[in-house]
Amino acid sequence: MEQSLSYFIMAWTDPYLIFLTAAGTFAGIYVGVIPGLSVTMAVSILISFTFTWDVNEALAVMAGVFLGGVYGGSRTAIMINIPGAPAAIAAGFDGYPLAKLGLAGMAIGVSTTVSFFGALFGIAILAAAAPIVSEFALMFAPRDYLLLAILGIILIGALSGESLAKGIFCGVLGVLIGTVGLDPISAQPRLTFGSMALMGGIHYVAAMIGFFGISEVLVQTLDLKKKIIKQKVDKILPSWSVILKHLPLSLRCSAIGTIIGALPGAGGDIAALMAYGHAVRSVKKPTRPFGEGAVEGLVAPEAACSSAVGGAYIPMMTLGIPGDAVTAVLIGALYIHGLKPGPMLMIETPHLFWFTVGNLVMASVFLLIFGLTGIRAFAKMVEMPPALLMPIIVILSVVGTYSIQNSLTDVYWMLAFGIFGYFLKTYGFQIGPIILGVILGPIMDISFRRAIITVRGDLGDFFLDLLVNPISLVLTAATVGLLIGQTPVWKRYAAGRRAKKEAAAG
């Protein structure tokens, strides 16, 4: 224990390590802010950059970039409705409406405090229960990933806006976009029309930047003379009462985020979407309706995607299995520094575990400091004249898209999606369901087929598995419950019961 503590504070006593963590977190926030510059990419680049460094120094700067980057993505999502990273998509659902109300400062303040809280929650679970959680994550079978994705895709109902039919259309469109390319199991081309450029599929970040970024620019360009909303930036730090009010939701969403982060097949983007869905269903009386600036709709995804960072470290530290794309790269970094990530890592190099925990805690503290100090300048960004802001967004979108995989095809896709997205928005179609389909569609596809192959094509066995396995049973029950809960019959029944209860009480 004493030894663990000494490793833990190692990151806190060396000024150079403190500096590196601070620099990493700071850089990470800005990597996160720019759409297309991903944390995965930044950490990959850092591997080469830190090749000759001491392993602790390399890990310190990478942990900072990781945490800062996951947090930074929500800034642009809140202010200009363009998520800087897939994990920030859900933060824009209610964050952007808040900015439209002139509350961008408050929204970022909430997002920062909640991210700090979520990050600490994930790290605490990493420190206290890593082996248990990683065993739990291993138990997730292909069918469970399928159920998780279905649970996520039901969220389309909440994101559809005025018309569920339009929402479902958008969701299916997203799933279709996700299926383009070589089929992941049999490598047969799907929807490629013989084109080489379509073989590799359409990168979901290109779709995200197009649908959110360019289409938003087009919408706003039509109204350049629109009165700029003055942002209130005098009260950024949320009061204790606000924090306490959202504490139960933050806790629940952090738990969701940590577990989904720990799953080897899902990361912060899915965690944030699931948490948003959870908030929509569980919060009966939000501050404003969801989608129109509910603080709960911002708290939930922010807590989840930050706690997913600690979660992603769990299988990485205990089993050498990446919990998401970034930890996969971190595992490579450990190999290159002569360590052997795997189940023996914690036994052979225990200091590494506690050093990482201490380091992540410090990165969270810097996240809070840098997050809260830069808000004023950031919030002013929204007050920039659109004639100045819009071209900057277009340039960042093009550069960001190109840098995903140095592909010009992605840029064309991004622009096409942007124009298409503009027309969709004009006719009352929502963008959220499309992105949901693009992200979750491929997971549903491959998980379903894996699950079916596992039972040798026997549908009876497939459904039996859903009921006899504890994890599958819980997920199946949640899915079925949600589906029934959405039917008109149930809604009428529930409304009737509520009316009776109120009549009895009053």
């Binding site: 080897p264 089993l319 189940p343 596992t454």
Partner: protein
């Protein structure tokens, strides 16, 4: 004007110098892209990420690595082929493309590529979860034969290492299993740890640490003799001597560029990766993960690749899993 002349002279001079070094000075002029055909955390990925910084040092430019998974690497392979042949997009590949033609996965294989470096060759090992009742490879085979089609084997898709080893087994003995595909060896091992599959043949590199921890049991190494990185694990020929005709066989890891890449770029890349693979730190890491260092390129690598292709193609043909006969592509019997 004087300045222009001067610049011209300097340029001419540097060109003569560069010509001596095979024009290596002109390449690379910008950062490079490396496309890894397997998922992050898998054996190919780790090898790629270990060798790249050393090659970057030799090249003086960054190599931006991306994982492009799917279709047993066919997505990455066809993608890199579709990129300009300027040497700036490299394929970090494993053995899989050598089977694409017969499996009908793609029209191309390493014939379309120039081998910058075939870094190392791995040895496959058949592993089961430590909870598994099977203590030896013979136990596993007996159970598979008793319950044909019931035992779940993890694969990485048709033509991947687990699938090929499975096909070899099918041609040597009666071996009918259900193959469940995953995105790579890392996710395959993860599924094994979670008991979602019952056994999986993987490269020693992906399994070594899990075997050491005792969570996973190695039953047999797919090799002519035991290997030092898997002490006490019998070679497959001890149980099934007929397997010997395919051996030595194993996954390999290499760096490739389109074959019609200019010679200057080929020379520069080959020199850089040769230097990288010579690094004792890299070699030590590779051997620690159960690999045999190769570090060959160009014609020498072509000989190895061609022989490898004929062994594997005909194994698949004999196993009846090919879509096209190797004869159609002029692939000779080994």
């Amino acid at each position: 004007m004087h300045i222009k002349h001067f610049i011209g002279a300097v340029a001419a001079l540097s060109m003569t110098v560069a010509a001596g070094a095979g024009m290596a000075a002109d390449f690379p002029a910008k950062d490079l892209q490396g496309v890894i055909m397997w998922g992050a955390g898998g054996a190919t990925d780790v090898v790629a990420r270990a060798v790249t910084p050393l090659a970057e040092a030799a090249l003086g430019k960054s190599i931006v690595l991306t994982n492009k998974t799917g279709g047993t690497g066919a997505i990455a392979t066809t993608y890199v082929r579709s990129r300009p042949s300027d040497g700036y997009t490299m394929l970090y590949g494993a053995e899989n493309p050598q089977m694409y033609k017969v499996l009908g996965l793609a029209e191309i294989d390493y014939d379309n590529y120039y081998a910058v470096n075939v870094l190392a060759r791995g040895v496959a090992v058949v592993v089961v979860n430590a909870d598994s009742p099977w203590k030896t490879f013979k136990d596993l085979v007996a159970d598979v034969q008793k319950r044909p089609g019931q035992v779940k084997m993890g694969t990485t898709g048709v033509g991947g290492l687990p699938h090929t080893v499975g096909s070899m087994l099918k041609t040597v003995i009666k071996f009918d299993v259900t193959a469940v595909p995953f995105d790579g060896e890392g996710p395959g091992i993860t599924a094994l740890l979670g008991n979602h599959i019952e056994f999986i043949p993987v490269g020693i590199g992906a399994a070594a640490e899990h075997v050491k921890s005792g969570r996973v049991r190695a039953l047999s190494v797919v090799n002519g003799e035991s290997v030092p990185s898997m002490p006490g694990v019998p070679p497959i020929v001890a149980d099934f001597p007929d397997f010997g005709k395919y051996l030595p066989w194993g996954p390999f890891y290499g760096v490739f560029v389109n074959r019609d890449t200019p010679d200057a770029a080929k020379t520069a890349l080959t020199a850089a990766f040769k230097k990288a693979a010579d690094d004792p730190k890299f070699a030590e890491m590779m051997q620690g993960r159960g690999n045999v260092m190769m570090n060959i390129s160009g014609a020498e690598a072509d000989t190895f690749l061609t022989k490898w292709r004929s062994v594997s193609s005909w194994i698949l043909q004999d196993a009846g899993v090919t879509k096209e006969s190797p004869e159609k592509f002029g692939i000779p019997k080994p």
